[in-house]
C-alpha cells in the first residue's frame, strides 16, 4: 500500500441552512490519481474545494470535521491558507488564464511566493512548468502573447502549468476537461499520467470513462454522502453498493 497523502475525517459542510456533505471520510494516496465521480450536485466539487480551503471564500460555507495533509490539520487555526494553497494547486472546470501574457501567467505563483530569486530562475521555472504541462513546444515562440488567446485545451494546459509552477505536492482538478473537445481531453489525460509520477492528483469528473482511464482509486458521491470508495477496477467491475452499480450502469445521473 502507498503512503496516505490526504485524509478526511467525518467531514460535514453546510452552505447556510443546506448541508452539502455528510460525514465524508476517505484517504487519498500519494502520487496516485484519485477520481471522484457522482451526479451533479452530489458534493464532489464541494469536497475537493475543502482540500485547498477554496470554500473559505464563500461566506456562508461552514466546514466541520478534519482534513489532514501529511498528518497536519489544514483547518487548524495556525494554518496559513496561502501556504496551504501553494502546496495544493487547483485546476478549474473552465480554463481561467489571467488576462496577461503566457509567461506572466506561469510566473504569477513564483512571483507571489518569492520562489525565484533572479530573472533567470523565473524563466527556468516558467519553461519547466510549460514543458511539464506539455505546452512548451506549442507556445515557445509566443511566450509574451496573451494567455487568453490560446485555444481552450491550450488554456487548460496553461492553467496546469500555472498550478505546477510553485511545485505543489497535490493538484486538484475540478472537471478539468468538461469544457474541452475529445482531442484536448485526451492530451490532458496523457498529461495526468505523466504528472502523477511527481504529484498527488485528485480529479472530479462527470465522465466515468475518464475516471476509469486515469485513476487508481475512485470515490462515488451521491446526495452529499460518500457512498463508496475503492480501487477503480473494483468500483467499475464489482461495486459493493447498489447505488454505485446503478450509477455506473447509467440507470441514473
Amino acid at each position: 500500500m502507498k503512503n496516505i497523502k490526504i485524509k478526511a475525517d467525518n467531514l460535514n459542510v453546510h452552505y447556510g441552512e443546506k448541508q452539502a456533505l455528510f460525514d465524508v471520510s476517505m484517504y487519498m494516496e500519494e502520487k496516485q490519481v484519485t477520481a471522484l465521480i457522482g451526479p451533479s450536485g452530489c458534493g464532489k466539487s464541494t469536497f475537493i474545494r475543502c482540500l485547498n480551503r477554496m470554500n473559505d471564500v464563500i461566506n456562508i460555507c461552514k466546514v466541520q470535521g478534519k482534513i489532514e495533509i501529511d498528518g497536519n490539520d489544514i483547518y487548524a487555526p495556525d494554518m496559513q491558507v496561502e501556504q496551504l494553497r501553494e502546496r495544493v494547486g487547483m485546476v478549474f472546470q473552465k480554463p481561467n488564464p489571467f488576462p496577461k501574457s503566457i509567461f506572466e501567467n506561469v510566473a504569477y505563483g513564483p512571483r507571489i511566493h518569492g520562489i525565484a530569486e533572479h530573472k533567470s530562475d523565473l524563466e527556468e521555472i516558467v519553461v519547466n512548468s510549460l514543458k511539464k504541462a506539455a505546452l512548451f513546444d506549442e507556445v515557445k515562440d509566443r511566450l509574451y502573447d496573451a494567455g487568453t488567446g490560446l485555444s481552450g485545451g491550450q488554456q487548460q494546459r496553461l492553467c496546469i502549468a500555472r498550478a505546477i509552477s510553485v511545485n505543489p505536492d497535490i493538484i486538484l482538478m475540478d472537471e478539468p476537461c468538461s469544457a474541452l473537445d475529445p482531442i484536448a481531453t485526451a492530451r490532458i489525460e496523457e498529461l495526468m499520467a505523466d504528472l502523477k509520477t511527481e504529484y498527488t492528483i485528485i480529479i472530479v469528473t462527470h465522465s466515468m470513462q475518464q475516471a476509469a482511464r486515469v485513476s487508481s482509486r475512485t470515490g462515488f458521491f451521491h446526495l452529499g454522502k460518500l457512498v463508496e470508495v475503492d480501487k477503480t477496477e473494483t468500483i467499475f467491475s464489482n461495486p459493493s453498493d447498489q447505488r454505485t452499480q446503478d450509477y455506473i450502469t447509467g440507470r441514473f445521473g
Binding site: 477554496m54 471564500v57 491558507v81 496551504l84 481561467n96 489571467f98 488576462p99 492553467c159
Partner: protein, 463 residues
C-alpha cells in the same frame, strides 16, 4: 383658439378609434370578411388618419401665420417705401398694442387705425379658415379611412410603420439639436476668428476681453484687440483645476470602488452605494457655495497658518470640491468594472495562494484597467465642463499661474462672465464665448469618445 381646436381634433381622434374598431368588427361578423388584423388595429388606423395630417397642417398654419399677417397688415406702410425693416417691425408692435387697446403714440393715426382694422379682420379670417381646414381635413380622412377598411388592408403593419416613423423622428430630434448646436457654435466662432486670428486665440497669453470697450472708445488698434483674446490662461486654469479635482477623486474613487466591490459585505454595499451616488445628484450650485463659503476660507486659513499667501478664492478649493463631486463617477463605474471581472479569475488567483490584496493588485485591477481608465476620462470631461463651482470658488481673474493657492479661472467661468448681462451680438467679446464653447465642446467630445472606445474594448474582452 389653439386649445379648443386641439381638443376637438383629439376628440375626433378618440371617436374615430371607436368607429374604426366598430366597423372592423361589423365587417368581420356581417360580411364574413377575413380581415388581416385585429379590429382594434383598424381603430388605430382610422385614428391616425384623423390626427396626424390635421395636426401637421395646424402646425404649418401656426408657423407661417404671423409672417403672413405681418405682411398683410403692413402692406400700406410697405407701399410707402419709406420705412426700414426695424421701423416696420416696431410699427407692427405698435399696431398690435393699439389693437389690444394700449395707445402710446399719436402719429400716423389714420394709417394705424386702418391697420388695426386689417389686423382684426385677418386674425378672425385666419382663425375661421384654420378651424374649417383642420377639422374638415380630419373629418374627411376619417371617412376615407373608414371606407378603406377591407380585407386587403393590413392595418397592423401600417400602425407598426407609423410607430417606426415616430421613433425615428424622436431620435432625430436629439440628433438635429446636437447638429444645430454645433453649427451655431461654428458660425459664431468663425465670425470671431474673422476678427481675431485663431493662433492668437489658441496661443495668446493674455485674456482681457474688456479691452473691446476701450478699443471702441478709440484708444487701441486691432493689434491690441488680438492681444486681448489669448485663451492660454483659461486653458491653464481649466487644466489646473481639473488636475486638482482628479488628484482628489482618482485615489478616493478608486479605493472606494475596490472596497465596495471586493471587501464590503452585501449589507454595507446596499446602503453605502446609494449614499455615495447621491454625491453626483447634489446640485452643483450647492457644491459651489460649499466651496466658496466653507472650503475656500478653510484653505486660506490653513495656508496662512503655514505662512503661505493664499487668495480667498483659490484653485485648490474649487478643485478639491469638484474632486469630491466627481468621486461617484469614478467609484461607481470602476466598481461595476471590477465586479464584472469573472469570478473564475479571482478563484484562479486565490488557488495559487495569493492574498486578497495580491489578487486585487495583480489580477483584478490589470484586468479592469481599461474600464477604470474609461471612468477616469469620463470624470475628467465632467471636471472640465463643470461651471458653477469654479464660478463661485475659483475667481474670475485670468492670470497665467500654476500655483494652486492662487485664484484661477476656467473656460466655463469666462463664458458665464462674458454672457451675463447685456451684450452686443456682433462684438468680438460676445463671440469669443462661442469660440471658448466650441473649444470646450471639442475637448470633452474627444475625451468622451476615447473613454467610450476604451470601455468598449474592455467589454469585448471576456465575451
Amino acid at each position: 383658439m389653439g386649445f379648443i381646436l386641439i381638443s376637438l381634433i383629439i376628440l375626433i381622434g378618440i371617436t374615430s378609434y371607436f368607429l374604426g374598431n366598430l366597423r372592423a368588427k361589423n365587417l368581420r361578423t356581417s360580411n364574413q370578411k377575413n380581415l388581416k388584423s385585429l379590429s382594434h388595429y383598424y381603430g388605430y388606423y382610422v385614428a391616425l388618419w384623423a390626427l396626424v395630417p390635421a395636426l401637421l397642417i395646424l402646425l404649418m398654419i401656426t408657423s407661417f401665420k404671423s409672417f403672413f399677417i405681418e405682411q398683410y397688415v403692413l402692406s400700406d406702410f410697405i407701399a410707402l417705401g419709406s420705412y426700414t425693416e426695424t421701423e416696420l417691425s416696431l410699427l407692427f408692435t405698435q399696431i398690435e398694442n393699439t389693437a389690444l387697446g394700449i395707445k402710446l403714440f399719436d402719429e400716423n393715426t389714420i394709417l394705424i387705425d386702418g391697420a388695426v382694422n386689417k389686423l382684426n379682420y385677418i386674425n378672425k379670417t385666419i382663425e375661421n379658415l384654420t378651424y374649417v381646414t383642420v377639422l374638415g381635413l380630419s373629418g374627411l380622412l376619417v371617412l376615407y379611412s373608414l371606407f378603406n377598411i377591407n380585407n386587403k388592408l393590413n392595418s397592423r403593419k401600417i400602425v407598426e410603420k407609423f410607430l417606426l416613423v415616430l421613433y425615428f423622428t424622436c431620435s432625430l430630434v436629439a440628433i438635429m439639436t446636437t447638429v444645430g448646436i454645433i453649427f451655431s457654435l461654428l458660425y459664431e466662432t468663425l465670425r470671431f476668428f474673422s476678427q481675431v486670428p485663431i493662433a492668437d486665440f489658441l496661443f495668446g497669453l493674455n485674456w482681457s476681453p474688456q479691452r473691446v470697450f476701450v478699443r471702441e472708445a478709440g484708444d487701441l488698434d486691432t493689434r491690441d484687440l488680438a492681444n486681448a483674446f489669448g485663451a492660454v490662461p483659461l486653458f491653464a486654469g481649466t487644466f489646473l483645476i481639473a488636475l486638482i479635482a482628479m488628484c482628489v477623486s482618482v485615489p478616493v474613487g478608486l479605493l472606494t470602488a475596490i472596497y465596495m466591490s471586493e471587501y464590503a459585505s452585501p449589507k454595507v454595499r446596499d446602503w453605502a452605494k446609494p449614499i455615495i451616488e447621491i454625491l453626483a445628484g447634489i446640485p452643483t450650485v450647492v457644491y459651489g457655495f460649499f466651496a466658496a463659503l466653507t472650503v475656500a476660507p478653510l484653505v486660506r486659513d490653513i495656508g496662512q497658518g503655514a505662512g503661505l499667501t493664499v487668495s480667498s478664492e483659490s484653485a485648490l478649493a474649487a478643485g478639491f470640491v469638484m474632486g469630491i463631486m466627481i468621486i461617484p463617477f469614478i467609484s461607481s463605474l470602476s466598481d461595476d468594472v471590477i465586479k464584472s471581472v469573472p469570478q473564475s479569475l479571482r478563484e484562479g488567483s486565490y488557488a495559487m495562494g495569493a492574498t486578497k490584496r495580491e489578487t486585487i493588485v495583480k489580477v483584478l485591477l490589470p484586468a479592469a484597467l481599461p474600464g477604470i481608465v474609461g471612468s477616469f476620462l469620463l470624470a475628467v470631461s465632467r471636471a472640465i465642463g463643470e461651471t458653477m463651482i469654479v464660478v463661485m470658488a475659483a475667481g474670475l481673474n485670468a492670470k497665467l499661474t500654476a500655483n494652486p493657492l492662487d485664484a484661477a479661472t476656467t473656460i466655463t467661468t469666462q463664458i458665464v462672465v462674458i454672457l451675463i448681462g447685456d451684450q452686443e451680438f456682433d462684438s468680438p467679446k460676445t463671440q469669443s464665448a462661442f469660440a471658448l464653447g466650441l473649444t470646450l465642446f471639442v475637448v470633452t467630445l474627444a475625451l468622451n469618445f476615447i473613454a467610450l472606445q476604451v470601455v468598449k474594448k474592455y467589454t469585448e474582452r471576456y465575451d
